[in-house]
Structures are given as C-alpha cells and as structure tokens.
C-alpha cells in the first residue's frame, strides 16, 4: 500500500525486556521529567490582576470616534450597516441644527446608532467600510450580561469621550 505521509512510526510490539518489566528505571526517568518541571515558569496568567496583551489587529468591542476638536465623526451614511454581514447595525440620520457645529462634524449625523452585539460577528467590515474613520473595533472584550436587551449597544455606549488616534488603521 502506498504511504500517505512519511510520518508513520513503526510501533515495537516485542515483549518487554526484564529492565522494562522492572519499571523502576522508567519510573526514575518519569520522576526526573516531572522534577524538571518544578523549575519551569508557570504558563498561567492570573487573569483579573494581569491581562494578556491583545494583538494590534484584535477586533473587540466597537467604539465611535470623535475628531480632533471633539465633534462626532459619524455622518450616518449607512455604509457600515450595508457592509455588515450579520446585519447588526441600525442607525437613523438627522440634520445638524445651527449651533451644533461643535457637536457634529458635518451637516448630517446619526441620531440613533445601535449595534446588536449578539448579532455581531466582529468581522471588522464596518471599520473598513467607514469613509469617515468613525467606527473602530477596540481592543476590549465585550462584557457579559444577564439579559438580551443590554447587548444592544446604544450610541451613548459606543461613543468615546475623547478623540482617539488610530495609526496605521
């Protein structure tokens, strides 16, 4: 029969020799192995106290960014909702009134912006689709909760207080 791979290992099924049947050499060897592990560093991360750093491309919880002056970047164009394969994003647009220039960067803004985190698959397409660099996936894990309604994140939950620079993204 033709071999599929070259990784097959022939198993020795000959009866055990006296040395093997005495078990003691093998036991000593095994004890040596475990003994060497006493001096090895533990691989555990004590989670709530220390956290493993995320990779820079980690796709976590969404944030809505602001621009340098602190105005909301999102113009409710709907491209993120369109790009979303899970149809998790809902938004309603509204027109900026005079005097709100400090709040919203352009004439149109999102009056309602919701992401259903139970639908979201964290693919990051919304981030790629956004022409205004408004929506980003942060390096935070979504917190757990007890009821479904609290997984629908409102604009207030998503919007960050201070503008964040995202280099190379």
């Amino acid at each position: 029969m033709q071999k599929l791979t070259n990784r097959a290992i022939q198993i020795d099924r000959s009866p055990m020799t006296f040395g093997e049947r005495a078990y003691l050499p093998a036991i000593a060897k095994g004890l040596g192995t475990t003994l060497s592990h006493i001096f090895k560093k533990s691989a555990t991360t004590s989670y709530p106290e220390e956290k493993r750093p995320f990779s820079p491309v980690f796709r976590g919880l969404h944030v809505l960014n602001r621009d340098e002056t602190g105005a909301e970047r999102c113009t409710a164009c709907g491209l993120c909702a369109l790009a979303c394969p899970a149809e998790a994003i809902t938004m309603e647009a509204a027109e900026r009134k005079p005097g709100e220039e400090k709040l919203y960067r352009e004439e149109k803004y999102a009056a309602k912006y919701e992401i259903n985190m139970l639908r979201c698959i964290f693919c990051g397409y919304c981030e790629e689709a956004c022409p205004k660099d408004a929506v980003y996936l942060s390096e935070t894990v979504m917190p757990s909760n007890y009821n479904r309604a609290s997984f629908i994140y409102k604009k207030e939950d998503l919007l960050i207080a201070h503008p964040q620079k995202h280099e190379g993204k």
């Binding site: 003691l24 004890l31 006493i38 533990s42």
Partner: protein
C-alpha cells in the same frame, strides 16, 4: 484492689497526647489536600490554588465548609446502616493506627516522671498497624456494597482484592526487616536506628533493607489507593469509584480518611525504614540542649521527614499513569511476592551464616 488504682496523671497525659496527635493528623491531612493541588500545579507548570487567602492557604477550610453544607443524600435502595457505617469505619481505622507510633524519645521530667511520646507501646506494634490497616478495607467494601450501585460495588471489589494482594507482599517484605530487628515493637525498632552511623554502618533500616523498602513502598502505594494504583477510584471506568453515591461530609470522610492514611503510612514508612525521629549527630544535640527541647527537636525531625515522604507520594502520583487491573495483579503476585520471598531468604541466609547476629 490493684485494678482500681488508676493513675490519673497517666490518663491525662495520654489524653493530651492523643488529642495532640489527632489534631496534628487532621491538620496535616487537611493541608495535604492543599499540598496535593499545589504540587500537581507546579509539576504541570500551573499556579494552583491562590485565591482563598495567601497562597490559597484557606482552601482546605473552604473545602470543608463546602462539604458540610452540601445536601446529604442517602440512596433509597441503599442499606442505610451500613451506608453510614462505611465512611465512619474508614475514618476510624485511619486514625487508629497513629496510636503505636513513637513520636519522640522519652522525656524524663525533673521530678523523675517519664513521659512517653507514644500513646501505647504494645510489643506487637507492627501487627497492630497491619491489623488496623486491613480493617480499613472494610470501610471501602461496606460503603461500596451498601450504595447499591454496580460501579461502587465493582470498585470496592477492586479495592479489596488490591489491598489483600499487596498486603501479602508487604507482610513478607516486612518479615525480612523484622528478622533483622528481632522485635515487633515500633519503639524498639526506632531505638535500634539511633543516630545515623554506628558500628561502622548506617543505622537506618533503609540501608540494611533497600529491596524490602522498595517492595514496602510499592505496596504502600497500593494500600493507600493512590496513583499509580488508584484503581478503586478511577473516574474514567467506574464513574468515581466506591464513593460515587456519597455526598456531603460522608464523602468528605472518605476523602479525608485517605489523606490521614497517607500521613500515617508515611509515618510508618519513616519509622520502619528511615529512623523515625532519629537524625545524624543526635547525641551531640542531646548533650547540648535541655531534654524537653531535644524531644521537640526529634518530633520536628520526624514531622519534616514525614512531610518529605508525603511530598514524594504526591510527586509519584502526578508522574505515573494508572496501572491496568491485570497489570496490577501481575505486578503484585508475579513480581513483588517472589521478590519479597527472595529478599526474605537472602536476609535469612545473611543473618544465619554471614553476620551470625542471632
């Protein structure tokens, strides 16, 4: 009226000693559960218990509390009396063995009163230990049978046959030792191992009976139902073993009895083979400190040796895989018993013709 002349001081002294030994056994057994998890963790490159208190040291307390507050279930079809008797017997026999162990050399007070750090110096100490250890199997047997669960029954049958098979080899390996010591009293066996070096040879029995020690150690593993011989409680084949139907503190008793057994067996191993409370240069130490302090030092030496032995038991448990049942029986009957017999024969020949000590 001689019988009624009860020595009150002696009774009080023994009661204090008994309660102290009980406390120490329970304390060590408690922290053995913590130690076991810690040792396992260290060997598997983990951290182990570290949440309950500093280094997780309150873990045994939390465990005990948990077991106390769990719902107590007695199966409907179980034999109720025997079901309750099982864990009690396991606990009782585990604690009884400590009565004959000498914990430190005798201490003579200034008034000339001798305080023996041994509950009962019976001249057949070793036989007593063996008898009680054999009774320990009843706890497992009765518990497994009374549960009315086929897995429990199978497991207790395994436990019983394992204990009986390995007790034979254990006894024979011990006979070789007893031929050298010429006494069954644990007190005398320890006194013979005085110091570390004497008459041009090591005094500890380990150096006189290395083969016997290895057989005895292997059998102790089997008697304790610990890995690599933990067949009576293999989770994979028999769900959990003989204590499958047990809950709450009755389960706790079984688990706890096992750790007390570990402590007591380690103590007996140390007493028989590693000189008990003896340590090198003990005569010089005895000459320079007060007798009471010397007794305490001896006790601490014994306890530290025992802790070392317990650590070794854990070390082995987290290294070796479990034996298969037929391998277990083959090892016991076909390897250990012949080896023990040969050891006994060689020891006898050496005593009779080479050393001519008796």
């Amino acid at each position: 009226m001689l019988l009624l002349q009860i020595d009150t001081a002696l009774i009080i002294e023994k009661l204090i000693l008994i309660s102290a030994i009980l406390m120490v056994s329970l304390g060590i057994a408690m922290y053995a559960t913590w130690g076991e998890r810690k040792v396992a963790a260290i060997m598997q490159d983990r951290v182990g218990p570290n949440r309950a208190g500093p280094l997780g040291l309150f873990l045994p307390l939390a465990d005990g509390l948990k077991l106390f507050f769990k719902e107590e279930i007695i199966p409907d079809r179980s034999t109720r009396f025997i079901f309750i008797l099982g864990p009690c017997l396991a606990m009782l026999t585990a604690l009884m063995t400590s009565a004959v162990i000498p914990w430190a050399p005798d201490f003579i007070t200034s008034s000339g009163h001798t305080v023996a750090f041994q509950v009962a110096d019976i001249n057949i100490g070793i036989l007593f230990v063996f008898g009680v250890v054999s009774l320990g199997v009843y706890g497992v047997m009765l518990g497994g049978w009374a549960s009315n669960n086929k897995f429990s029954l199978l497991s207790s049958i395994r436990a019983a046959s394992q204990a009986i098979s390995y007790e034979l080899a254990m006894g024979i390996s011990l006979i070789a030792l007893l031929m050298m010591t010429g006494s069954l009293s644990l007190r005398e066996i320890v006194q013979q191992q005085h110091g570390f070096w004497g008459d041009g040879y090591f005094t500890w029995n380990f150096f006189k009976q290395p083969v016997g020690f290895i057989i005895f150690l292997t059998c102790t593993f089997a008697e304790l139902n610990r890995a690599p011989f933990d067949l009576p409680e293999c989770e994979s084949e028999l769900n959990m073993g003989y204590h499958q139907e047990y809950s709450s503190m009755k389960l706790g008793f079984y688990l706890f009895a096992e750790y007390i057994n570990l402590f007591i067996s380690s103590t007996i191993l140390i007493t028989l083979y590693f000189g008990g409370y003896n340590f090198p240069f003990m005569d010089q130490v005895a000459a320079s400190v007060s007798p009471l302090l010397f007794s305490i030092i001896c006790m601490l030496v014994l306890i530290s040796k025992v802790v070392g032995m317990i650590l070794f038991f854990m070390f082995v448990r987290w290294t070796l895989p479990r034996f298969r049942y037929d391998q277990l029986m083959k090892l016991g009957w076909r390897s250990l018993i012949p080896l023990a017999l040969a050891n006994m024969l060689v020891t006898g020949i050496l005593i009779l013709w080479v050393f001519k000590s008796h």
